[in-house]
Amino acid sequence: MAVLRALKPKSEADNPSSKVLRFGPDQPLMLEAGTVLAPFQIAYQTYGELNADKSNAVLVCHALTGDQHVANTNPVTGKPGWWEMLIGPGKVVDTNRYFVICSNVLGGCLGSTGPASTNPATGRPYALNLPVITIRDMVRAQAMLVDHLGIDQLFCVLGGSMGGMQVLEWAASHKERVFCALPIATGARHSSQNIAFHEVGRQAVMADPDWLGGDYLIAGKRPQKGLAVARMAAHITYLSEAALQRKFGRNLQDRQHLTFGFDADFQIESYLRHQGMTFVDRFDANSYLYMTRAMDYFDLAADYGGRLADAFAGTKTRFCLVSFTSDWLFPTSESREVVHALNAAGASVSFVEIETDKGHDAFLLNEPEMFAAIDGFLRSAARAQGLS
């Protein structure tokens, strides 16, 4: 069974169990790296119905290790969709009302072209032969999907973390196509500390002898240990010190005494090992390298002459930013910087900081205050757009 599950991501990479849009050689994607990607494909899910004037579309952008299965049972893990608490019939993002789209990002491993996808030129997985993908590339590919669906303007683009970066990129480079934007727990650039953590993760993957310079899939291997360590380190950054202390403290795992060995004596160790092990079953190691790199490269202001406000000049998009008090990966100051830039650009902007000890991951959890803010924001935007 474990073997079957381990093989699943590979098959999902080329033939996803979701909708998939294939772009032929006649529809190339110019990448920021300077090369052209063609052919390529985007895997996506939709929920609800597009209305007659195509004005009720909501695009959800997923985070680093998320996927298109935002509001349905995940085909690889069998778990509920990653944002089912927020999105669905009668939920805050009501699929009876909105047409919700979520696509696997370019460089991902659940059906959009990524390093685990088969390179048509060689018949083998791209591995590291895929050019480095940026947030802007991901958004360009999403825009091609939105074009294909016949939608001129998205009612809302929302997402957290790396998803929030895509929201900001959408709002900056496709201003007229975004009526309202909800960047959550994110920033306009990746900080030095965040790049540092990602580098630790990448080095862990690449230090695994089974990584084989990236060619593990051809050899029928997977750098599970390295990827698990990468996930463990990253996972710490998604939580907060206070929450770790509250949940685990120095509690021992299924034992009364310290063993004076290097087994998982503490609950926190056991918890992290579990996080690492379950992650490698569902995620491709090379894709992890590409995703982390895309976030590292993101610096929206740099694309606009170093002045973030210029990225939003003349925007008519309504913004609502959300941050969390205990998020140290994307602290409130990062959101505030975006808010100030939006103010300077004369944009319509709301900004809420939610009090919680759940850290960065709070955006994926049951946070009633966040739901209330998103609900109020969407309702007022829907009124303005005549969607009520």
């Binding site: 300077a344 205050e369 609900d375």
Partner: protein, 204 residues
Amino acid sequence: MSANSNTRVDLQVVADLIRPGARVLDVGSGDGVLLELLREAKQVDGRGVELSQRGVNECVARGLSVIQGDADTDLVFYPDNGFDYVILSQTLQATRNPKQVLTELLRIGERAIVSFPNFGHWRVRLSLLLRGRMPVTRDLPYSWYDTPNIHFCTIRDFVELCNDIGAKVESATALDANGQKIRFTMPWWFMNFFGQQAVFLLRR
């Protein structure tokens, strides 16, 4: 900051000064009562800045466009002439640098509307004169050591500050203890003595 019976009247007086459909920035928007009133009654394109996170979250949940921010430090991030009106309702006395804040208001907005409790009201004067104590009234319920209101002024003081920074007073309204308007035609000393609250409409 202004939990008192005159609040509604005070807000209505502010609302009456605003042109329908205008772009409005409410600095110190609290729980959003004024912005909501302006949205419903005047169809304004309204934004807010509020110091307390609780107030901000409440505003956003009500569908108002509000950010967490401080009048003393965050107004610099707004561009010149971004708004038709910038409102500072019952907040001036709580700012660290009222002069600078007022200057910023008139940079950002074509007009500024400022309302504040009048420290020249006869009850305040009487409290100091007879009791020798800092006044604690229904409208100003704080003791001197725990008040957020660190820069009280009288109507006369405020007029002088306006002159100082070259702001023109387009209209001034004082409300008496019953929340009734004292007419602008009354002399300044009268408004300053009987006005419990003041609402000024200023322009550059």
